[in-house]
């Protein structure tokens, strides 16, 4: 009873703190001075049409490197835990290829198999489009990477016994991560600072090959995120950890 009263008090306290968000938050009529500075300076300085991307990749590039590292550590943790658990879970009946996979436990339906086979290349291409056009249109490395991973999910769902080359995933993941850091250091040498995108020519505003190193960096981030998330999905999916 006392615990319940404390819980209600805590909720009421949080509601009281959050109340100004509802009553006092003014509707945004115009950009704040900081936002206006970014919007005005980005096209001239960095040549990127998408200001959000310019902030994420260049102005706050170091933060993005940290986020990518967090995702890498999470992936490594999932791989580590599920690999250790694998042989212990496998109790009896191992080595039987006819053992149904996890999930629903049956082969995918005709509709799922056909639809996934049709959709997977399209979704994959869309993911690549999202991260290569991150400096022009909404989206970027993280979003594109997740879309690539969802294309892999379609493949996993339609072919339960399908295998993914973990060596290839690891190779893509580490190579793109290392190149990301290398490009950052290159910006330190050739341009104004770490992860400065002006180490490559800015090009014509609004074209695909423009905005310096931003498309390259975001493509690397997209490949890295896509490989990591596909790895997580594959680790979660496969019951037996022998191929991990």
């Amino acid at each position: 009873m006392v615990a319940r009263i404390f819980a209600i008090l805590a909720i009421a306290g949080f509601a009281l703190i959050a109340l100004p968000l509802v009553t006092e938050l003014p509707p945004m009529e115009e950009l704040t001075s900081l936002a206006r500075t970014y919007v005005e300076r980005t096209p001239d300085e960095l040549g990127a049409a998408n200001v959000v991307t310019a902030v994420i990749v260049t102005y706050r590039g170091l933060d993005t490197l940290g986020e990518v590292s967090v995702l890498f550590i999470a992936t490594a943790g999932v791989g580590f835990l599920l690999r250790r658990q694998g042989p212990a879970v496998r109790s009896g009946g191992d080595g039987v290829p006819a053992e149904p996979e996890n999930g629903p436990g049956q082969a995918p339906s005709e509709i799922l198999a056909t639809g996934a086979r049709f959709l997977m290349p399209v979704v994959l291409l869309f993911g690549v489009y999202i991260f290569t056009h991150g400096h022009l249109t909404p989206g970027g490395g993280f979003q594109g990477g997740v879309i690539v991973a969802s294309a892999m999910l379609l493949y996993f769902l339609s072919t339960p016994g399908g295998r993914v080359g973990h060596t290839a995933l690891t190779l893509v993941e580490s190579l793109s991560g290392a190149s990301y850091v290398f490009l950052g250091v290159l910006g330190l040498v050739l341009a104004a600072g770490f992860l400065d995108n002006r180490l490559m020519p800015l090009g014509e505003f609004g074209r695909l090959f423009s905005a310096g190193a931003i498309p390259v960096i975001y493509s690397l981030v997209g490949l890295k995120v896509g490989a990591e998330l596909s790895g997580i999905l594959d680790h979660l999916r496969s019951r037996e950890g022998d191929h991990a």
Partner: protein
């Protein structure tokens, strides 16, 4: 018009969130949590934040839901039965 749509989506999010917390079946709760994210991503589009909307739709409603469902099926497989549904 936009405000009305945002209010409707907010109500949907609240209902789905309460459903996710209170419902006994975990699979339904996971799906309801995905509905919360999907509605949130539509709200982001209405508020002219397509970058955030894309992230929310792809990660919040798609990938997180799938990871939860895979985790649930693994837990059930480890228990070795169809209990705890």
């Amino acid at each position: 018009m936009t405000t009305a749509l945002i209010v409707v989506l907010g109500v949907v999010m609240l209902v789905a969130a309460v459903f996710a917390v209170l419902h006994q079946q975990l699979v339904s709760a996971v799906i309801a949590a995905g509905v919360v994210s999907l509605s949130a991503s539509v709200v982001y589009v209405l508020l002219a934040a397509p970058d955030v909307a894309m992230t929310e739709a792809a990660i919040g409603s798609a990938l997180t839901t799938v990871v939860f469902l895979y985790a649930l099926s693994r837990i059930r497989g480890a228990k070795g039965g169809s209990d705890g549904s």
